[in-house]
């Protein structure tokens, strides 16, 4: 997903648009939409920070900052005492240790779909349910199924077999969430988890997943109001800081040439 947040004193508008191979070129469209909603012309934006995997594909950005730093900043603005962030996105998952809103260590899984939100998307598809339904279904289960395969493709097959064996859907879904929670918590534990623990990314909207993760980690897990937007909020706050610092020095921040055109990717 491509997200845009525009901030003045506070958030003026935010948009969550699709990503994907074609949309990657079209960060400009999501930006236009956000400007429309805020009722602002592009030239009134004093600074633009791009983050995430696609940050290099945003030609109108003044600065690129990785999602690790942006998440740290965004989460700290909602939870000043946050120390550990777990972000489970569509393509990867990561754990970030923070102090005073700054990252001090991180781990990342960008190698394996089974540790990311993609795992849930694929299994939801296989089970013929909507991804949003998974959380509620899982919370009804008292006996989560054990999913032993750690590879998405094999887990998918295992789920199909278990369904045929008559294992109730809610137990299967609960088992799947546990399996994802298991993988993610094993990775994040390398950071020596400290409270407060915050979960972000699309998966954080899934109450069953929040519960499963909290059980696995042995800590309560909090979720920000818009868990998909924390990275973008962080980027905006960092951008604002750069612009303000420049202003304090009576300078204008170093900016790139601005153009809201789509980019060309070979």
């Amino acid at each position: 997903m491509t997200k845009v947040v525009i901030m003045g004193e506070e958030i003026m508008s935010s948009v969550i648009g699709p990503t994907g191979p074609e949309q990657r070129r079209l960060a400009n469209n999501v930006m236009k939409e956000a400007l429309n909603r805020a009722g602002l012309p592009f030239k009134s934006i004093s600074y633009v920070v791009a983050t995430g995997y696609g940050r290099i594909n945003v030609p109108f950005a003044d600065k690129q900052i990785t999602e690790i730093t942006c998440h740290a900043r965004g989460v700290a603005s909602f939870f000043p005492d946050a120390r550990t962030i777990i972000d489970i996105g569509g393509q990867d998952s990561k754990g970030i240790k923070i102090n005073n809103g700054r990252p001090i260590d991180f781990v990342m899984n960008d190698k394996c779909a089974a540790g990311s939100g993609r795992f849930l998307e694929i299994i939801a598809d296989t089970l013929g349910i909507k991804i949003e339904e998974m959380g509620e279904l899982a919370l009804q289960s008292k006996n989560p199924a054990v999913i032993s395969n750690i590879c998405t493709i094999f887990a998918e097959q295992e789920v199909v077999d278990k369904l045929a064996e008559g294992i109730p859907l809610k137990n299967l879904v609960a088992g799947i969430l546990e399996s994802l929670a298991n993988r993610v918590s094993r990775m994040v534990k390398r950071l020596k988890i400290e409270r407060e623990v915050i979960l972000t990314g699309g998966v954080a909207k899934n109450a069953g997943m929040v519960q499963a993760l909290s059980d696995k980690l042995g800590y309560p897990v909090s979720v920000p109001p818009e868990p998909l937007l924390t990275g973008a909020v962080g980027a905006t706050l960092l951008g604002k800081e750069i612009a303000q610092k420049a202003k304090e020095r009576d300078e204008s921040p170093e900016r790139k040439e601005r153009s809201l055109k789509e980019i060309e990717i070979l």
């Binding site: 990785t66 690790i68 700054r102 260590d105 991180f106 960008d110």
Partner: protein, 464 residues
């Protein structure tokens, strides 16, 4: 694949010495092909087996099969040999050096000539294969046995080169004499085998000279690498992945000694001119373990482009200062080799014993962190080599537990800032030594970017 190869440009090195390695390796490979034509004996062998001097003293040309696989990887031309091994029934999760080498050898034997476009002329057919049993590295035992299936007339000689594992409540001196005696017997067995293969007796005076040259080279390398402590550092790990060639493949030769004399001079001059790997050195990193991805050495340059340098690495630092290795009073070169082997492997044991919760590998990291003024650690988990990579994460965890050198302020329970100490930030890269299908440049560089930002924020949080 052809595309991949075309795009791959020559990497920029910081030192002239490192830049001279490419042609040296190329000559090395052609040298083995020439030697074979001239009827000289050629032996397949592994690095870090410490019998390099024995081979040199007997005029047997070593062919480092790990090196040839690494060359295929660096040229991004390993895939076809890996695939060949796979189709011979070997699992892709085995050591990819071994898979590449076996695939290549089988192909050469099948054709009766070098496979088409063999990297740098190809890997020569050996007269013998020398393997060695060492802790964890199964290819050192099994690789040549598998190769022998395709070269049944080439003899394999296997020796045992053990060293004691660390236990914090056991003194290695209790077992030392037993180990050394055993290694001496193994080395003498190797000499007898080589004498039989070459039909000539070992000239022990010559071996003494070669071992002596080897020991002087160890000291010279130690002193040379120590120059990298300078700020800014004149040479990084990217270059050390080149300069490992004379260290690991040419020990006991005058050429290796002269190479490090040249490097020593170059580094001293750079230090005097305060000429660093990068103009504005911001972060000093330790390559704390793991063989590199040979096809992606330019990642070191990427680090450099962010102001990060690697003044030290534990990988391929296969020497210590001979002044610090216990050596009894003996003139027997075989005995000296055995003591050197043992001394190298237990080098960090005593230091580790002094710090509760430590371990030789962790102690090694701590020493380098302090000596080289390190800000962060990078490791590479190459999936197919268990030998070097098993335990890396454990080492990082253990290090974080017992060593917290960064003073920072954290928000205490009462909302007030408290001073505390934190561990060094670390980054674990994941890929392989030569299997390019495990690598993603975008993901790797995304991790590097995030790590650099983390270093930046740690530097900002640091209280002085």
């Amino acid at each position: 694949m052809a595309e991949e190869k075309k795009k791959h440009k020559k990497r920029r090195t910081a030192t002239e010495a490192a830049a001279s390695i490419g042609p040296m390796v190329k000559e090395f490979i052609s040298g083995t092909l020439r030697a074979k034509e001239e009827g000289r004996k050629v032996a397949f062998t592994f690095i870090v087996c410490l019998y390099d001097e024995i081979l040199r003293a007997m005029d047997i040309l070593p062919v480092w099969t790990e090196n040839f696989a690494g060359i295929c990887g660096a040229k991004r031309d390993a895939e076809r040999f890996l695939e060949r091994s796979e189709s011979l029934g070997l699992s892709r999760s085995l050591c990819t050096y071994a898979l590449c080498g076996i695939g290549f050898d089988q192909w050469r034997e099948e054709l009766g000539e070098m496979p088409p476009d063999a990297p740098w002329g190809g890997q020569v057919r050996p007269d013998m294969m020398l393997s060695s049993g060492q802790i964890l590295c199964d290819p050192r035992n099994k690789w040549y046995q598998a190769s022998q299936l395709y070269m049944p007339d080439v003899p394999v000689y296997n020796i045992d080169l053990p060293y004691p594992l660390y236990e914090d409540d056991v003194e290695f001196t209790d077992v030392r004499d037993y180990y050394v005696k055993h290694i001496i017997e193994e080395l003498r067995g190797l000499v007898a085998f080589l004498e039989k293969q070459t039909g000539t007796k070992m000239d022990y005076d010559r071996l003494s000279e070669t071992v002596d040259l080897g020991e002087r080279t160890w000291n010279l390398i130690w002193e040379t690498y120590d120059l990298r402590r300078a700020v800014p550092t004149p040479m990084g790990t990217g270059d050390a992945m080149n300069t490992m060639v004379p260290m690991c493949f040419m020990m006991g030769t005058q050429e290796a000694y002269d190479f490090f004399l040249g490097l020593n001079k170059e580094l001293k001059e750079k230090v005097a001119r305060k000429e660093g790997v990068v103009e504005d050195e911001k972060y000093r990193l330790l390559w704390g373990g793991g063989l590199p991805s040979w096809f992606a050495l330019s990642d070191f340059n990427y680090f450099n482009s962010k102001g990060a340098v690697f003044p030290a690495e534990t990988t391929y630092r296969m020497i210590e200062s001979m002044y610090q290795i216990y050596m009894p009073d003996t003139n027997d070169p075989i005995e000296r080799l055995a003591w050197r082997w043992f001394g190298y492997w237990v080098f960090w044991h005593n230091k580790a014993r002094k710090r509760p919760g430590s371990h030789p590998d962790v102690e090694w990291l701590i020493q380098y962190i302090e000596d080289y003024k390190i800000d962060g650690i990078v490791m590479h988990e190459a999936f197919s080599c268990r030998t070097w990579h098993l335990g890396l994460i454990w080492q990082l965890n253990q290090l974080a537990k017992i060593y917290k050198p960064i003073p920072v302020l954290v928000l205490g329970k009462d909302g007030k800032k408290e001073k505390t100490n934190r561990e060094l930030p670390s980054l674990v890269l994941e890929s392989d030594i030569i299997d390019i299908t495990t690598y993603s440049e975008v993901d790797t560089r995304n991790r590097i970017d995030a790590f650099i930002e983390t270093l930046e924020s740690v530097a900002k949080s640091k209280v002085h």
